[in-house]
């Protein structure tokens, strides 16, 4: 079973007068089957936390462990493989390749990772749940912000990751869609046994999460 742990993470940017403590004293742990929601206002360190969780950024101090293995100890190549195979990212922006149709966004994953992607049946149900089955031959610029975000979620799930990390996945969605995405994330965690971590300032997702944290000025506290 997949576990993801942050131990005493600290992240600072710049130095001297301009030094910014983006994250301080972060301890966090999750496992497959859990939907975690980290709430925080703009500039509180949400994106920084998420990229450290996904091994994109190294913390100034502290350890990131996936399945009890220190991410910092892995080679660049191994970390890349980890991202491709184990971690699905839904980022705040630019998620989709502008010159590929929605269908081809998935084909691209097949190109670099031909095996172990989600089954055809799972894929069908994911795109049905996200309501994007009719958008397959459109280019990203022909999608609304919410549609693009839903495609990005499907794209992140396509590689069958054991961890799904999402940065503001509901920013452009109306309340109905937020409920659907909340339900979907819950299913992804519970039924598909993945660890889901979502950072957001969207409190509408609260009711679907197993654990809720608050991030304020780079410090995290668990509220549920």
């Amino acid at each position: 079973m997949t576990t993801l742990t942050l131990n005493n993470i600290e992240k600072t940017f710049g130095s001297g007068q301009n030094k910014v403590h983006a994250l301080q004293d972060i301890n966090f742990s999750t496992a497959a089957g859990e939907f975690n929601l980290i709430l925080g206002p703009s500039g509180s360190g949400k994106s920084t936390l998420l990229t450290i969780l996904g091994g994109l950024q190294t913390p100034t101090s502290g350890q990131v462990q996936i399945n009890n293995q220190n991410i910092q100890d892995l080679s660049k190549k191994k970390r890349e493989n980890l991202r491709l195979n184990e971690i699905g990212f839904v980022l705040q922006s630019y998620n989709l390749v502008p010159y590929l149709t929605v269908a081809d966004q998935f084909t691209l994953v097949d190109q670099v990772k031909p095996k172990d992607n989600i089954s055809k049946d799972d894929f069908e149900s994911v795109i049905a749940e996200l309501g994007i089955q009719d958008l397959m031959y459109q280019y990203p610029k022909e999608l609304s912000g919410g549609q693009a975000q839903r495609v990005a979620i499907a794209r992140a799930l396509y590689a069958n990751p054991s961890v799904l990390l999402a940065d503001e996945p509901t920013a452009a969605l109306d309340s109905d869609r937020v409920m659907q995405v909340g339900q979907l994330f819950q299913d992804i965690a519970k039924k598909q046994q993945r660890a889901v971590v979502t950072v957001t300032h969207d409190v509408r997702l609260k009711e679907y999460a197993d654990h809720i944290y608050e991030l304020v000025d780079g410090r995290i506290t668990q509220v549920q």
Partner: protein, 353 residues
């Protein structure tokens, strides 16, 4: 290839413009090299026809056969073999009897026992039977068989009895005749018997006296008046065009890469390997260059059909292929900077916000 093809399909206008620009540059390179070869050919067609390997003339002539004057004593010291020929070469004017207009030619006097004379191939007529008969280059189209002509400073009337092709020497059409007429046509006294010796032997001619000097083929051609300057000019133009295309390709690819940097960064964040993205840029560049060079080659072929006869072009397929390969390599060199940028992308840069 998957990303590259989709990208080109998606952004047709932009890629068409890039391909058009590079295609036109390669067209220009093809045409200029054909022109360079064509002009070089006008200088050396006769020399190549003789299978020349080396040449010998007087030292004073400075490598220019047209100024060389050999005396009988010089010639006697050189024991000529079957693959060496005595020639008398001089620039001259020709005009038809009774006609005032003149054409510039190179008169080349030969002996009938030498290989150049014996190897002459005619497209019509026959070889000269006596020393008042000449054969002329097919490019000398103001004259035809059986015309009576006057050559150079000689008052004798010569009869055209044959036409031959590939007879160009130092940008002028050739009139072949008897060596004995060379001195009167050139207007020198008959103590001078020839301008020099041409050899098709692999071993270079050796000067038998210190009044004479032997040249290998390359030096002989480089000493043709104006030849070297022409070759240098064209080499310079072609190198410059290749340099320009390198810069254009680099700039295009650089701009394209910079514009899609955020998307590439996200792909890196999602674990798409560096290698895949770099290979994709490589493939994309190769595709652009192959299409561009093919368009350039197509335009060149089309031009070759319609270009007026008067324009000296010469299409050498091996050389053109070499240029095409050179263009492809140039394009891939242009991709180096973008590939380096991609390899250095930091995925985190796009994630904040």
């Amino acid at each position: 290839m998957f990303l590259a093809i989709n990208e080109i399909k998606y952004d047709k206008v932009r890629y068409s413009l890039i391909i058009a620009v590079i295609g036109l540059i390669s067209f220009l390179i093809f045409i200029i090299s054909a022109l360079a070869l064509g002009l070089a050919h006008q200088n050396t067609a006769a020399i190549e026809k003789w299978h020349t390997q080396s040449a010998l003339m007087t030292k004073d002539a400075n490598g220019n056969m047209g100024q060389s004057l050999m005396q009988k004593s010089d010639i006697d010291k050189q024991n000529l073999t079957k693959s060496e020929a005595l020639v008398g070469i001089t620039p001259a004017n020709v005009k038809a009897d009774g006609d005032a207009s003149r054409d510039s030619v190179q008169y080349i006097g030969l002996r009938d026992q030498d290989y150049i004379y014996q190897d002459l191939k005619l497209s019509s007529g026959h070889l000269p039977k006596n020393n008042h008969e000449v054969i002329i280059a097919d490019t000398l189209d103001n004259f035809k068989l059986n015309d009576k002509i006057k050559i150079g400073l000689d008052d004798t009337s010569y009869k055209v009895v044959g036409i031959t092709d590939d007879a160009l020497y130092n940008m002028a059409p050739v009139v072949y005749g008897n060596l004995d007429n060379w001195a009167p046509i050139k207007g020198v006294t008959d103590q001078f018997k020839a301008s020099g010796i041409i050899s098709k032997n692999d071993t270079q001619l050796k000067a038998a006296s210190d009044q004479l000097k032997a040249y290998n083929l390359k030096d002989y051609m480089n000493n043709l008046p104006g030849y070297q300057a022409q070759i240098l000019t064209f080499t310079f133009m072609i190198s410059f065009l290749i340099l320009i295309s390198l810069i254009v390709v680099t700039i295009f690819l650089y701009i394209l890469t910079i514009q899609k940097l955020p998307n590439l960064a996200v792909l890196r964040a999602q674990g798409i390997p560096n290698r895949y993205l770099i290979l994709n840029t490589f493939n994309e560049t190769l595709l652009i260059m192959v299409i561009s060079v093919a368009i350039g080659a197509g335009l060149t072929t089309l031009t070759a059909f319609f270009i007026p006869d008067a324009v000296p072009v010469y299409f050498d397929i091996p050389l053109m292929s070499l240029i095409a390969v050179g263009m492809l390599i140039t394009g891939l060199l242009g991709a180096l900077i973008p590939m380096r940028i991609i390899s250095k992308i930091d995925p985190v840069t796009v994630i904040g916000g």
